[in-house]
């Protein structure tokens, strides 16, 4: 049979394809529907948080930071409750990472704060002596891309039914609504409102001034995102 296949390239290729293709189906499909169901308390990202998430991706923070807490005592001691599948329901793409050059950030919003991030992103060594994390000073001047974040919200709402402007159940039985603007201008206004809250806890005068002028530096969006990781 194999000798025959080796003389009939078309059937050979079909044979190879079938052999490699069906494992994928069995491995991936069975869990597909279930894994995408959000657990209670998981909210979609706000416009500003999403813009911050895109800053995170743009700078490949995931090259050094995981967002996956494995169920080990040592890991839950360090980072908090182990990860649950539904907590990632709104993560497109997922950001688990595969290398922990720096610590896991899945729940960093629980144990670091705005002013700490501000100091740390500007100069990690100044806060954590011996840190090998690069400094990201340009984030204090580059402007966050709110338009694209808004386009992303629209996309996931339209194509994947992500519940913006709809009540989302919370752990305490209440509901919350994550707002999404009706237009680009409205999206900007919403993001700015959130940015002001973040900037209020920051020290950098240039950033505060920029936000007061209606601009949103990348660092503000990034910190909003990091604070949302809980």
């Amino acid at each position: 049979m194999f000798h025959w296949l080796e003389k009939h390239p078309f059937f050979f290729a079909v044979g190879v394809f079938v052999t490699i293709a069906f494992a994928g189906l069995i491995e991936i499909l069975p869990n597909f529907a279930e894994a995408s169901r959000p657990v209670i308390g998981t909210k979609p990202y706000s416009t500003l948080e999403l813009a911050g998430r895109n800053v995170y991706i743009k700078n490949s923070c995931n090259a050094c930071h995981s967002q996956l807490i494995r169920p080990f005592k040592a890991e839950t001691d360090r980072y908090g409750h182990y990860s649950l599948s539904g907590e990632y329901a709104y993560d497109r793409p997922f950001l688990w990472g595969s290398k922990r050059t720096g610590p896991d950030l899945m729940r960093v919003g629980n144990y670091r704060t705005t002013d700490w991030h501000e100091n740390h992103m500007k100069d990690p060594e100044a806060v954590v002596p011996g840190s090998i994390m690069p400094a990201y000073p340009w984030m204090f001047t580059n402007k966050a891309d709110i338009d694209t974040a808004y386009a992303e919200q629209l996309t996931v709402a339209q194509f994947f039914s992500v519940p913006y402007n709809k009540p989302v159940p919370m752990k305490d039985g209440s509901t919350e609504i994550v707002k999404m603007g009706n237009s680009v201008a409205e999206a900007h206004a919403l993001a700015l409102e959130e940015a002001k809250a973040v900037a209020a806890d920051m020290k950098d005068q240039d950033v505060k001034d920029a936000v007061a002028r209606g601009e949103i530096p990348e660092i503000v969006a990034l910190i909003a995102y990091l604070n949302s990781l809980k």
Binding site: F72, D77, N110, Y111, T114, D115, K203
Partner: protein, 312 residues
């Protein structure tokens, strides 16, 4: 002995030495942790198997000769022997396949194992072990334990010597800094330092009983210095303002009153525990609540901080 084996042993020895070194480098070594042991065993097996299997084949390059029946075909002059597959390889391939099926269907109880279940057991065992021990940890041992908590959890913000890293967090070597006192007196404070919601009023609510007027700028400066310096006996001006404005809540000596106001003269276990439970927001910045510490760890952290500000 053949030079090859010598090389094999040298390489193996180097890698095993490296592996041993990693164990020594880690506090507690293998720590009785089954995961550590399996990982090290895997590393050791990897080196030994690869080195000696490769040597086996290299020996054949040195001593054996190629032979067998050639297939009819040749591609670009590359021939092919019709040799059988090496027996050991075939048996192991078959063996692993059978093992795999057995393991998945029978050996591994497909739905009975759960990594979360394993985790729960692990945590229970860990907690049981330390719960017993915690009761006996007091005094200096408690401070020692607190130091270990501090180094793992707190030093990223407060710095290794707890000095607050140039004002990025509170300096814990003293009860409180002047600028913090000043800020609190001007703006009030609302950080659940007593464990429950119990705000301190801002300057518009602070009357000086001696003068019968609201606290003044000068008085704020005076009293802030007095508090931050730890209630020095020779600072009579400060003591006077304190007695007039603050003592009604914080007590004549600044050591606080239950349910009314916290001790602002020295750290207390209750204060530190409350900060760790609720976080704290002030002029320096915001400290998050550190929820994942248990009660004993918080107590220990407090003991450590108290030992620091006593100048020990």
């Amino acid at each position: 002995m053949n030079k090859l084996y010598l090389w094999g042993i040298i390489i193996t020895a180097i890698m095993l030495g490296a592996t041993y070194y990693t164990v020594v480098l880690t506090k507690g070594g293998l720590n009785g942790d089954i995961v550590n042991m399996l990982a090290i065993a895997g590393a050791v097996a990897l080196v030994i198997i690869t080195v000696f299997v490769v040597i086996k084949y290299v020996r054949q390059m040195q001593t054996d000769t190629a032979e067998g029946e050639l297939a009819d075909e040749s591609w670009d002059n590359i021939g092919e022997y019709k040799n059988p597959v090496p027996m050991g390889w075939a048996i192991m391939f078959l063996g692993t396949m059978i093992w795999g099926m057995w393991y998945f269907m029978v050996g591994y109880p497909v739905n009975a194992y759960s990594q979360i279940g394993e985790y729960n057991e692990d945590v229970a065992a860990h907690d049981a072990k330390f719960e017993k021990e915690y009761a006996s940890i007091t005094g200096d041992r408690l401070v020692e334990m607190g130091e270990s908590v501090f180094l793992a959890e707190c030093k990223v913000c407060h710095g290794i010597s707890a000095d607050g890293i140039d004002g990025k967090a509170a300096n814990l070597n003293q009860r409180i800094e002047e600028k913090s006192v000043k800020y609190v007196v001007e703006h009030g404070s609302n950080s659940k330092l007593l464990g429950t919601e119990m705000p301190m009023p801002d300057r518009n609510g602070l009357f000086n009983a001696n003068s019968g007027a609201l606290i003044t700028d000068a008085e704020i400066d005076t009293v802030s210095k007095y508090v931050a310096e730890g209630f020095p006996a020779n600072d009579t001006a400060g003591a006077e303002v304190f007695a007039g404005v603050c003592s009604s809540c914080h007590g004549a000596d600044g050591r606080g009153m239950d349910y009314v106001a916290p001790n602002i003269r020295e750290f207390t276990p209750a204060l530190v525990t409350n900060v760790l439970t609720h976080g704290k927001k002030g002029v320096i910045g915001k400290m998050p609540a550190i929820d994942r510490l248990n009660a004993k760890q918080k107590e220990a952290a407090a003991a450590y901080i108290i030992s620091l500000s006593k100048g020990e």
